[in-house]
């Protein structure tokens, strides 16, 4: 293993816990308000953009385990969604989908639709539609208007997730844009350069 590879690997290992802290910190604050938004994947998106999908997925999975222990016990059932988010961001970033504001917003919306599709079976099978957050209110609203529970869960997911993931992608975009480029240049194994975050 070359010295450069070892340095990059060490940087990835050191960055994982810190990206988890971003996921856990932001997610815990939003959860405390019981908003129909999650904001629990900023660290996952950031880590994927900086170091690729494997690191992003690790951040997402470990972050959700910690969230389940300390803040939101039901987060553990959505670990699979985090892996899918990391893979989707990886694929989108490889196609330079985080290069500017409009592309990032579009990527976020697409990511939201995919996250909603992946989360829906968990919400239906494990929670029977009642997740205990703001999304459950929307599900109840759809049921009230005559939809079946399965349909309502999917519709509430598709209504909330694109907004949530769109905002999370934009937040990540603005955070990375406001970072000094010299600081980001050390993260070479991700998609920062191809998406214009570094020179």
């Amino acid at each position: 293993m070359t010295a450069q590879n070892n340095s990059e690997r060490m940087l990835s290992m050191a960055f994982i816990p810190l990206a988890i802290a971003v996921n856990v910190g932001i997610g815990a604050i939003v959860k405390a308000f019981n908003l129909p938004l999650y904001f629990d994947s900023v660290g996952t998106i950031m880590a994927t953009l900086m170091l690729g999908w494997r690191i992003g997925a690790t951040v997402g999975v470990l972050g959700f385990i910690i969230t389940a222990i300390f803040f939101n016990p039901f987060a553990i059932y959505f670990i699979g969604t985090q892996v899918v988010i990391a893979i989707t961001v990886h694929v989108l970033a490889a196609k330079k989908a985080f290069k500017n504001f409009a592309r990032t917003l579009l990527s976020g919306v697409l990511l939201g639709v995919i996250a909603a599709i992946v989360s829906a079976p968990v919400i239906i099978l494990v929670f029977k539609g009642a997740t205990g957050n703001g999304a459950a209110l929307l599900t109840s609203l759809f049921v009230e208007t005559g939809h079946q529970i399965v349909e309502s869960v999917f519709l509430s997911g598709v209504s909330i997730e694109p907004i949530d993931k769109g905002l999370q992608c934009l937040l990540t975009f603005f955070i990375l844009r406001s970072m000094p480029k010299t600081m980001l240049e050390k993260f070479k194994s991700g998609f920062l350069s191809s998406n214009g975050f570094t020179a």
Binding site: N6, S7, R9, M10, L11, M13, A14, F15, I16, P17, L18, A19, I20, A21, V22, V24, G25, I26, I29, K31, A32, F33, N34, M46, T58, L62, G63, I65, I66, A68, I69, F70, F71, N72, P73, F74, I76, L125, V126, F127, K128, G129, A130, T131, G132, N133, A136, L137, T139, S140, V143, E144, I149, L171, I175, S178, M179, P180, M183, L184
Partner: protein, 181 residues
């Protein structure tokens, strides 16, 4: 430990119970309280078991992960994940305290602290990137992976690993059976 499980009841059980009541009792007018209470109890039980399995002191964690043959790289990531986020939350609190002492924040209530979060985010992420870089060079210099590989598993000091593994496997099987039937 007790505090964490009380938090589970407050943060987890109450909102989920309320959303079950809203969806099944108020909206669907099923009036099936037995179903609602049974579902909530089951969910809280699964999640309590999971929480118990994953809640272990950091000094036990290293032996448990070694027992399950995790490599030095993965041990480092998991232990870091379990410990570093508290530091980051403290750092964020310090940034908010600095804004408080400059007069940007009037009161230190939870809502006002949460409103300050966007202002704390950029310095927090910049601090994270700097810390990651410093830790990486420090770990590389100390050859930390080799040091972790050399830690001997001591089952006597960690008798809970087998119980944890059994609980986790049992809980997953129970969840699958309940979902299928």
């Amino acid at each position: 430990m007790l505090k964490q499980h009380l938090r589970l009841i407050l943060v987890g059980m109450v909102p989920i119970l309320l959303s079950f009541i809203l969806l099944y009792i108020i909206v669907l007018k099923n009036d099936d309280w037995e179903f609602v209470l049974l579902k909530v109890t089951k969910l809280v039980l699964y999640t309590s078991v999971l929480q118990l399995v994953f809640t272990m002191p950091t000094f036990h964690l290293i032996y448990t992960l070694k027992t399950f043959r995790f490599s030095g790289e993965h041990i480092l990531s998991v232990i870091g994940a379990m410990t570093v986020w508290v530091d980051i939350l403290n750092k964020t609190d310090k940034i908010i305290t600095a804004r408080f002492s400059r007069g940007f924040v009037k009161k230190r209530t939870f809502i006002i602290k949460a409103q300050q979060f966007p202002y704390a985010l950029i310095p927090m992420v910049a601090g994270i990137l700097r810390s990651a870089s410093e830790r990486a060079s420090s770990w590389e210099h100390k050859n930390i992976e080799t040091l972790l590989q050399q830690v001997q598993t001591n089952r006597n000091s960690n008798g809970t690993w087998l119980l944890n593994a059994s609980l986790l496997i049992g809980m997953i099987c129970w969840l699958i059976i309940v979902i299928i039937y």
